[in-house]
Symmetry: C3
Subunit: 403 residues, 3 copies
C-alpha cells in the first residue's frame, strides 16, 4: 500500500468494511485492548491503514483546525512521545505537555482537579504511567471519571478521550502497532490464524522494565487464532489476571495460549518471536512499596538482587542458534525498541548483533505503525461516524503539502 496514491476503489472497500463493523467507541477511552470488541480492534486497524494511505498520498488529514492534545508522561519516552505528537499533528491538534514530575503518585482531588484544568479546550489526553504496579491503569480511570463528571455537569464543553500510552497493565498503542505490522507482513489478518508466536523473556543487564509489553502482546495476539507461547524463567511472572485474559481470548479465537519456562521450547517452530526483558511482577510490586516509603537503600538493594538474579538467565538471548529453532530458522523477529543488543548496547543482552541487524528494517517498520494507531484511536473516539468523516476527508481532496 505505501508510496502510491490510495485509489477510490480501495478506500471505498475499506470504508464499507468499517461501516459494517459494530462498534461503540465514540466518547470512550482506549485503556486496554481486551476491553474492546473484536470489531472495535478491527476498526482501529482499518482507520490506521486508511490514515496511513492518505498520509502516504500526501492528502490532508486534519479533522480539527485547532484544538489541544495533552500528554502526560510519568515515565521517559521518545518513541511514544513522537508517535503521539505525530498522530495529533496529522489530525490538526497541538500538543501541550503536562509535566508533573515522574515519581509523584497522585490520587483523589489532585487527579480530579488536574483532569478538569487541562481539559477545558482539549480533545485528547495521552497518558504514560507504567512504572508503578497498581497505579497506572487506576490513575487513567480516575482521570476519566473526573472527565465524565465534568462533562455531565457541563464544566467542559466536550469529553476528551484518554489514550493509554502505556500503563502498568497494557501498552495498547504498542501491541496494536505490532499486530498491524504482522497483518501487513503476512499479507492479511486471515494468514495469521495458526501461526505460532513466542513472547519470551530475554536477558538484560538493566532493571525495572515494565511488564506491559508482554502483557499487552498475550492479551491481544491471542484474539486472532494464533498459538501464543509465553516463556520466562521461574519467578518472572506477569500480572496474574493477564493469563486469564489470554486463555479466554485463545479459546474464543480458536487459537491457543501456553506458558513455558524455556525460551528454546517457545522458539521451536515459531513463526514469530518477541524476545524482551522485563522485571518480575513481585519485584515491581515490592519496588512500588519502597518508592512510596521513599526507601532509597531498600530500592538499591532490590535492584542489586534483581540484577543478580537476571544473571542466572544470561543464556536467554535471541541469537542465531535460537533462531535456528524457529520455523525454517526464519521466524519474524519483533521488538518494541530499543533492544539491548549484545556487544552493542551492552556486553550481553536480549539479542545478538547478527540477529538484530538481519531484522532491523522489520523492527523499524513495526514501529512505523504507532502514529497511525494512535491517530485511529483518537478519531474513533472523537467522531460519531468515522467512515463518514473519512469519506468527507477524502472527497475534500485536501493536500497536506503545497508543492
Amino acid at each position: 500500500m505505501p508510496y502510491k496514491l490510495i485509489e477510490k476503489k480501495e478506500l471505498t472497500e475499506k470504508l464499507d468494511i468499517l461501516s459494517n463493523l459494530k462498534i461503540d467507541m465514540y466518547q470512550k477511552d482506549f485503556l486496554l485492548t481486551w476491553e474492546k470488541t473484536y470489531d472495535e480492534i478491527l476498526a482501529t486497524f482499518l482507520v490506521a491503514e486508511i490514515l496511513r494511505s492518505l498520509r502516504y498520498s500526501s492528502s490532508g488529514t486534519r479533522l480539527w483546525d485547532s484544538g489541544l492534545a495533552v500528554s502526560i508522561f510519568k515515565d521517559n519516552s521518545t518513541r511514544t512521545r513522537f508517535s503521539f505528537a505525530s498522530a495529533c499533528d496529522m489530525l490538526g491538534l497541538y500538543v501541550q505537555d503536562l509535566d508533573e514530575g515522574k515519581s509523584q503518585i497522585a490520587h483523589g482531588e489532585t487527579v480530579r482537579e488536574t483532569a478538569v484544568m487541562v481539559s477545558f479546550l482539549s480533545e485528547v489526553i495521552g497518558i504514560r504511567h507504567d512504572m508503578f504496579i497498581g497505579e497506572g491503569d487506576s490513575y487513567m480511570r480516575e482521570f476519566g471519571e473526573a472527565l465524565d463528571d465534568a462533562f455531565k455537569k457541563q464544566v467542559i464543553p466536550d469529553r476528551p478521550t484518554i489514550v493509554n500510552l502505556q500503563s502498568d497493565i497494557d501498552h495498547p498503542t504498542q501491541s496494536m502497532a505490532d499486530f498491524l505490522h504482522l497483518i501487513n507482513y503476512f499479507n492479511g489478518i486471515e494468514n495469521l490464524k495458526g501461526k505460532k508466536v513466542a513472547m519470551s523473556w530475554a536477558y538484560s543487564p538493566s532493571y525495572g522494565k515494565p511488564l506491559s509489553v508482554p502483557q499487552g502482546i498475550i492479551g491481544l495476539f491471542t484474539r486472532f487464532g494464533m498459538d501464543v507461547v509465553l516463556a520466562y524463567p521461574e519467578g518472572y511472572d506477569l500480572l496474574p489476571q493477564t493469563y486469564e485474559i489470554a486463555k479466554n481470548n485463545a479459546n474464543q479465537s480458536g487459537g491457543s495460549f501456553k506458558v513455558v519456562s524455556s525460551i528454546q521450547e517457545a522458539f521451536k517452530d515459531a513463526d514469530i518471536v518477541y524476545p524482551k526483558s522485563w522485571a518480575p511482577f513481585s519485584v515491581m510490586e515490592k519496588r512500588v512499596e519502597l518508592l512510596k516509603a521513599n526507601d532509597q537503600s531498600g530500592l538499591k538493594e532490590l535492584e542489586k538482587q534483581c540484577l543478580e538474579n537476571n544473571k542466572k538467565f544470561m543464556d536467554w538471548e535471541c541469537n542465531e542458534k535460537m533462531m535456528n529453532l524457529t520455523k525454517n530458522g526464519n521466524a519474524l523477529y519483533m521488538h518494541c525498541l530499543p533492544a539491548d543488543i549484545t556487544d552493542i548496547s551492552c556486553k550481553a543482552g536480549e539479542v545478538s548483533k547478527v540477529v538484530f541487524d538481519k531484522y532491523r528494517k522489520d523492527t523499524y517498520d513495526e514501529a512505523s505503525y504507532k502514529p497511525y494507531i494512535i491517530a485511529a484511536m483518537i478519531l474513533l473516539a472523537k467522531r460519531k461516524d468515522p467512515a463518514g468523516t473519512l469519506k468527507k476527508l477524502y472527497e475534500m481532496g485536501q493536500k497536506r503539502i503545497l508543492a
Copy 2:
C-alpha cells in the same frame, strides 16, 4: 449561553455593544486591570463571551494561520499554562516556551535583548513573574519598552502584546476570569451592584504564596459597585498602593472597600467569599532580599518563622460554621485553585472538605473562563477593529471540526 449555537441576533447585539465602547487597547499590553478603563474591561468580558460562544458552537476562531506566542514562566504553573496554550491555539498561534530558569532575576541589557530575540515573528508574550516583590511588574514593563523601541526602529515587523499571566502586583487573567464567572453566576453585571464580597486570608501550612490574587481581586471587584471587604490577620498586609486603588475604584463605582482583621466580620452577610492564603508583604520583601543575597540559611529561617506565625491563625478556615455567617448561609465560594483542603491536601487548610465539595463545580466553572479571557486580551490588543474581526469570523462560518 453554553452548549447551544450562538444565534446571529445574540452575536449582533454583543457586537453592537462592543462597537459602542470607547476603547484604546490596540497594540497595548495588559498588565494591571486598573490601567484599563471601565469600557476596556467590559470589552474584554464581551470578547471572551463571544469567543466562548463561537467555541461552544464549534466555529473556527483562528485569527492567524501561523504565528508565534511566547510563554515565560518564572514560577510554576499548570492552570495558567494550559489556559494560555488553549487561548493561543484557538486563535491559531503556536506557543514556544522561553525557559530561562526560575530564580534568575534579569534586568537591563539581558531583558532588552531577550525581548527582541524572541519577538521577530511573535504576536504575544505571556509572562508569569510573581515570586519577587518589586520585580515582576517592572520586568514586564522593561520587556514592553524593549519591544516598543524595537518596533519603532523597525527591528521587528509587529509589536507583540504582553499579557500578564501573574505579576507581583496583579493577576488580571485570574481576577477577570473570576469576575466573568460572577457575571454569569448572577445573570448579569448589573446584578452585582451592592453585593458583598469577602476577600479573606485563610490559613495554609504552605508558605510564600503570592499576593497578586487578593490584590487583583480588590483592584477589580471594587469597580462594579460591590461592597468589597478585605480581611487578614495583623501583619498580613498587601502592597500599600493596592489599598488606594481599591478605595478610589469603590468611590467611583458607588461601592465600598473596607479592611477588617476578622474573617467572621468579612463573611457576615457576604454574597461571595474568596478565602485564600498569602504571605505577608513584609515577608515577601525580606524574601527577595535573601534571594538576591542567595542567603539559603536566611531563607530557611524566614520560612520557619513564617510558618510558625501562620499557625497562630489556623482558625481562619472556611468551614460550615463560617459559611453560616454568610447571606442565607449560602454565599458563593470562590478560589483560584488549587485550594488547601483540610484533611485532603493537608491536615488543616484554607477550606473544609464539606464546603469545598459543595462548591467544587463552581470553582471549576470559575477556572473555565480563563482561556477565553486570555484570548480576548490578545484579540483586543492585536486587532484595530475587534468587532469587525469577530463579525467577519462569524460570517466566514468556518468550522473548527470536520465532523
Copy 3:
C-alpha cells in the same frame, strides 16, 4: 523592502533569478556552507528575502497544513531555538523537541535508531551539537545516513532534511544570517566586493565558547570577494581545515584571507568588524577527552588554566579606540549575541558599552534574518521547484492574518 507589500514585479524578478540558478538542494541537508555551491548560497539568500517580504506583507507562507519538525539541542540556545520555531511555524510545521540530555555523546545504533524513530512523519530535523570537537558534524552525518537508509528501504515515506543549527565545525544559519544582513546593509551583494572584514578574537571572562562562529564566518565571507582578516592571540587557533577552505574561497572569489595576531592590525581600515571570544581548538579538544573520561577535576583545572590564559589578552576589547582604527572610524560592528559587554554583562568583555550601544540596532537587525534563512534552507531542501512553489504561494494570495 520591509514594511511594504511586496510587488508582483519585485517578486517576479527575484523568482526569475532563482529559476536561473543551478542548484541541487532538493532532499539535501544543510551542514556546511562550503559544501554548497555559490548558486545554492545565493538561492538561500533569495528565498529568505522572498519569505521575509511575504511575511512583512502578511501573506500566508504555509507550505504544509501539518507536519512535524524535530529539534535536537545538545547545547543551550535561545536565539536559534526561537529562530527555528519561527521558521517552522511560518511554513506550517509543528516543532517537537527531542531532549536526550546535553552531555550524552551518541553513536552507532543509538543514533541510527533515534533518527528513524523521530522521522516517521517529520519534514525537518534541526540539530545543535557544537560543544564537542569532532562530534557534532559527524553526529549530523550519521543521523543523515540513517535517514537515507530508512528512506531507501521505504521505512519512512519521506526524507526529512537536516539543518545544522550549530556544529563543532560550522554555524551556517548564523553566518548566512550575518551575511544577508551585510547584503542589505550595503545595498547589494556586489557592493561587498573588496570590503575588509575583521573576524577577531576578543576577551571574555567566560570559557568554552564554540569555534563554529569564526569558522563559519571565514568559511562563508571569503566567497564574495571580501578581504577577510582573522585575528587571534597565539594559541587560539581554529580547526585547521577551515583555514584551507577560507584560502581557497578567497582565491576563487577574488578576495583575500589573512591570519594576523593583532586585533589592531585586523581593525585597521576595516569596513566590518566581528569581535568575538572563543576557546582555543587545542583546549576544546582536551575538553572533549576529559568529558569522555568524565574527569571533573581535570575539567575544572582546564577551565581555570584557560581563564587564566584569557586574562593575558584583556586588551583585545572592541572599544572606541579600536573602532577609530577602522575605515573612517565607522566600520559596521557585528556580533551573534549575546555579547560580553564591559561593565554590563561583566567587568571586562568583548566590547565596550559605548560601542555596543551605538550598534545595538544593527546587531538586532543582524539576528532578525535567522528565521528566514532557516525557512529558506527547509524550503529549498523540501521542494523540487522552489520558484514554482513560491509563485503558487504568492498567487494564492493567502493572508496570514484575519484582520
